[in-house]
Amino acid sequence: MTSSPRSKEPSARGFALEKAVVSFRGTAALDGATLEVEPGERLAVVGASGAGKTTLFRVLTRGVALSGGRVTVGGRDLYSLSKGELKGVRRRIGSIYQAYNLVPQLPAGVNAALGEVGGMGALATLRTFLAGPDAALASRVAGALDRVGLGDKARARTADLSGGQQQRVAVARLLVQSPDLVLADEPFAAVDPVTTERVFEALLELNHEGATLMVNLHDVGLARRFPRVVALREGQVAFDGPPERLSEEALNEIYAGDDPHQEVVLPEPQGDGGPKEPIQLAEGRDGVSSH
């Protein structure tokens, strides 16, 4: 019972994309992206809106269909795993998104406990559903909530918490899951600076404990605090290296076409019936965006 799930399940710490292609109805969101990440690394992903950042994160949990290339997690081809093996790999990957992480109707404590639900059998799932987490899990949940400063909110309905508090509950769920690989897609976009710092610290701590950490950031300043920065542009890796090498010109190149002064880009009449860019509100380098 007390043996850590890490011992019996294969590691998912390092991962690699080889010319990965993901298309949505003909448009490539990832267009031959190649990226290799070693176990225990810590990296930030930046890029203009629509560059494929969220898609990059989703492809790593097999959340979207892959139309070309290869994705390996922990050295194993993610898209050729069986259902059971995939579940095992997913167990080792923790995700946190800008919003919509949590089930709003459940108490915060149950949401945090859901970090562990992937490892439960059907009976344990039913028992947890009807009677709540067992004593061992409950104490881990309490510890995780304490660490994010929400020790007193375990019984509060998640929907009644503030946005920042909800984001911290999502971090607590990560702590309960204690994954090998942490994927954070714009975790700070809807959060105040103090909470940002706090969530950031918690993520770094997971990294110090050995987990690989990949964070998608709109804030380039925050991204510079990572030893490695990866920039996506039109579904491809446009920059990969330490932040010192990321010059202003390189940044302008990466964010070209994502001019923060633009208000609304009206689609120009086009002769061909090809796919048109959707109307987008301006999203600067540190703007808040959906997805």
């Binding site: 949990t61 097999r62 979207v64 259902k83 995939l86 990957i93 919509y100 859901l114 970090g115 639900v117």
Partner: protein
């Protein structure tokens, strides 16, 4: 920066230009109206000239029969109707729940093998089919079926309500389950949660208050339905109303109908008040 040359869209008034499409729609509606009116023998003159029998019926109802025996019959009828509608909704909800769970399509089939898909598709279509049959047969027809099978009384009526309620609730619940925000469910799936876990902890908590509200509403509908199931001998106050009608005992009919209206209103109000207080 030179502005791109764009076609200036012509902006007309609030009334769209007459085109043949709306005209056709109006013609079709008019045609259907005439055809249906002729079919049912719609006759305004007859309605207005036959005030005599209607007047006699209504004046015959007054004063309502408030004798102790009638009141007793009425009370028994109302209570029975209430019990039928309540049990019908509850049993319907219990049956609807598992059917709806199977009838809920899940889109996360990325990488699922053909066998796995089949394993999901068969219960999905089967439960949809069952729900459709339950729902598309009106409760009064179900009542006839059960009366033939089980004999007269409130029990077949209750079963009829339960089956029809199960059909309606199952359909609505599966729609509720499907329309729930999918991001929390996907977040669960991404951490390795299986179908059962994603359903119990992701979809269900988001749908449960909607389901409760739907069940209460179905109860309201059932108490209205339960009043007429008696016409086919399936219990409830309708049976008393039919008997009194056949005996031309209009004062008693008045009491029974009045009590029915009160009972329906009470349940409506109660259920609406509870539904308002449900937290989403």
């Amino acid at each position: 920066m030179a502005s791109p040359r764009t076609e200036q869209p012509r902006i007309g008034g609030a009334v769209p230009r007459v085109s043949w499409k709306p005209a056709l729609v109006v013609l079709v509606i008019l045609g259907l109206t005439g055809w249906s009116a002729a079919g049912v023998g719609f006759d305004l003159v007859e309605l207005l000239s036959s005030t005599g029998p209607i007047e006699r019926f209504i004046s015959g109802m007054f004063p309502p029969d408030l004798s102790a025996r009638t009141l007793q019959t009425t009370a028994r009828g109302v209570l029975e109707t209430f019990q039928m509608s309540f049990l019908g909704a509850l049993m319907g909800a219990v049956v609807a729940f598992p059917l709806a769970a199977f009838a809920t399509g899940e889109d996360a089939t990325v990488g699922a093998s053909r066998g796995e898909r089949l394993l999901r598709v068969v219960p999905y279509h089967l439960s949809r089919f069952i729900l459709n049959v339950f729902r598309s047969v009106p409760d009064i027809l179900w009542a006839l079926v059960f009366v033939v099978a089980l004999g007269l009384g409130p029990f077949p009526g209750t079963l009829a309500l339960a089956v029809h309620s199960a059909g309606i609730l199952g359909k609505l619940l599966s729609e509720t389950l499907e329309s729930v925000p999918s991001r929390p469910v996907e977040a669960l799936r991404a951490t390795g949660a299986g179908a059962l876990q994603a359903f119990l902890f992701g979809r269900l908590p988001q749908a449960i208050s909607g389901f409760t509200s739907l069940t209460l509403y179905q109860w309201e509908c059932n108490i209205r339905s339960a009043t007429i199931l008696g016409f086919v001998g399936a219990g409830g106050i309708g049976q008393q109303i039919l008997i009194s009608m056949n005996l031309f005992d209009y004062p008693k009919v008045a009491t029974l109908v009045g009590a029915t209206i009160v009972a329906v209103l009470v349940v409506d109000r109660f259920s609406a008040a509870v539904r308002r207080r449900l937290v989403y």
